[in-house]
Symmetry: C3
Subunit: 247 residues, 3 copies
């Protein structure tokens, strides 16, 4: 049993948006602490790790731990109908998720739940060698530059700079951001790190971040990339497998 | 013979827009009273009844009653070229409709007329049991909510509320607007009324209404719905057949 | 060898945009005077003649004359990534065009060059009979009017007016702009002139002109049309073959 309300439905909408870009189906775990979800994307290349603390909700009643399996496309479509200033209440009712929006009048959606089962993927344990903090807009724009010539980018961080590179038949692109430049919010590097990632996944991962969101990238040579950003009072973390070129 | 002018071409444009969403071809009847048109949509599920009084025109000269058959898509495309602050003159010339826009310079379009013939459909005589007045934006938004789960909606009015419901495999939606809520401009009910209608037609009917337009819905159980709204100084009425489920 | 900089990358972007609408591949000639390009569109119906004087560049170093063959779609895609307030540097490096954008940080693109060869088309020598100057927005809008009924327009200039006409199955359009009307910036006519042109090419030719750009049209009966407009401190001229109807 649960009965959870958000004063502004937009917070939950933003969270769902940040998940749906990678995940088709997944299970929210609702406990006395808050709402979490960990799931792999269908191709098993990326993982989402989502955590919303109880305090992000305006009212939060849960009895026991509850798991609800949802189709994220359907959930996202419903959340897309949230209007400014509307509140949202979530309840379990007759094995369905009852979502009630209240603003100028009352709108109620009932979503069928999915029986997902299976085990929740584990969080990868990686000791990263470098990380950088940037506004999402800077990163998104650079990835668009790279997409002119390739479907993959090489990210690298050394003591002095963060570099995004792409190479293809139509030319090559190199974007260098020096540690001291104003767009860099933080830059740490214990060892040089460099790895290649698919652009499509990076774009999906960043889609849920609006332009002023601060993104943290954690890098280690030929290891998964960790991307982390806040969504209101919730937090979303993605892991993305590197492409390792055979020699 | 006729020679009719509109100080602002936009008024006639808005009328054409409200008609073209349902009707491919139709006949304007131009008499000493004004301009009217009554026509069924091609699938015979909906009817348009349009009336523009003579006083909506800045100059209005007609000799005898004239009928002009038009292709509404072509007419709508021409009217879509109207610019802000332009005037419009309509004339019959060599069996064509001559449309002259005047603003910074003069633009003249000649449209071939259609030979439509046939009889004009009669206005249905229905004693409705309930009606409600709402802004178009409220209604349009609620229909978008419903379209998440179905292609049909059930509309119902009772003493206290107006309800829009939709049900489908992906869940169900219920939007309740209580009589006393501020979005309700008027609410009358002599008998409870409830009927099901296709969303696609409802959307087409409302397309010509901008968000602040006041819509009146007239409802009677399992009878056609009547939708009425003003377009400037003209008035447009639609009738839409209900879907009656077999038992 | 060359090393050319633009204080604002947008100037070069606008030039590339005005060329790419007609030309797939072409050769920039870079001399001590400036940058030029003359090329036919793939169907040989239109010609572009582009001239950018040295003084439009913030720094300009060239040794000898250099020709660089470029794929305009690829170049246009790179220029599309220019951001407001960024500077641009162009260099030849390892038989590639190195393009460096500098703003908040540095972005470098390398474009492969094409081996184009062939002879540069000659500039047509035509003594035009009439010309008119108008804002691009007026002309673009009138061509949209004409496109409702045909894929071709007849342009004509006489002592008093400039007329655009189009005729088709769905009606006809006539747009008359009198010499004294305020939208006419200049109007000269030694002999009446009239010719027919394909709308698609006219639209492509005007695509690079923003709405306040002053366009000059030079007309002579059944001869190519000349269209001329400035792009910043550069100048672009197009010639478009007329359609001469067989009798």
């Amino acid at each position: 049993m649960f009965d959870i309300s958000f004063e502004n439905a937009k917070l939950f909408k933003d969270c769902v948006d940040a998940i749906v870009n990678l995940i088709n189906e997944g299970e929210f775990e609702i406990s006395s602490e808050g709402i979490t979800l960990r799931a792999m994307d269908p191709s098993q290349i990326a993982m989402v790790d989502f955590k919303m603390p109880k305090k992000a909700c305006s009212s939060y009643k849960v009895e026991g731990d509850v798991k609800i399996g949802v189709n994220f496309e359907d959930l996202s479509r419903v959340m897309g109908r949230a209007r400014p200033e509307e509140s949202l209440n979530l309840k379990l009712k007759d094995s369905r998720l009852e979502m009630t929006f209240k603003g100028k009048f009352t709108r109620r959606f009932n979503l069928p739940l999915l029986d997902i089962g299976g085990t929740v993927p584990k969080e990868p344990k990686i000791e990263f060698d470098a990380n950088i903090k940037l506004n999402a807009s800077v990163l998104k724009d650079s990835l668009k530059d790279a997409s002119l010539v390739s479907s993959h980018v090489v990210l690298s961080i050394d003591k002095n700079s963060f570099v995004i590179e792409a190479t293809g038949d139509r030319g090559d692109v190199l974007i260098e951001t020096k540690k001291e430049e104003t767009v860099v919010i933080a830059h740490e590097c214990t060892n040089n790190a460099k790895a290649m990632f698919p652009l499509e996944y990076l774009n999906d991962i960043l889609k849920g971040a609006d332009s002023s969101t601060v993104i943290t990238l954690y890098l280690k040579t030929d290891a998964p990339l960790k991307v982390e950003y806040p969504v209101g009072q919730a937090e979303i973390v993605y892991y993305l497998a590197p492409r390792i070129e055979n020699v």
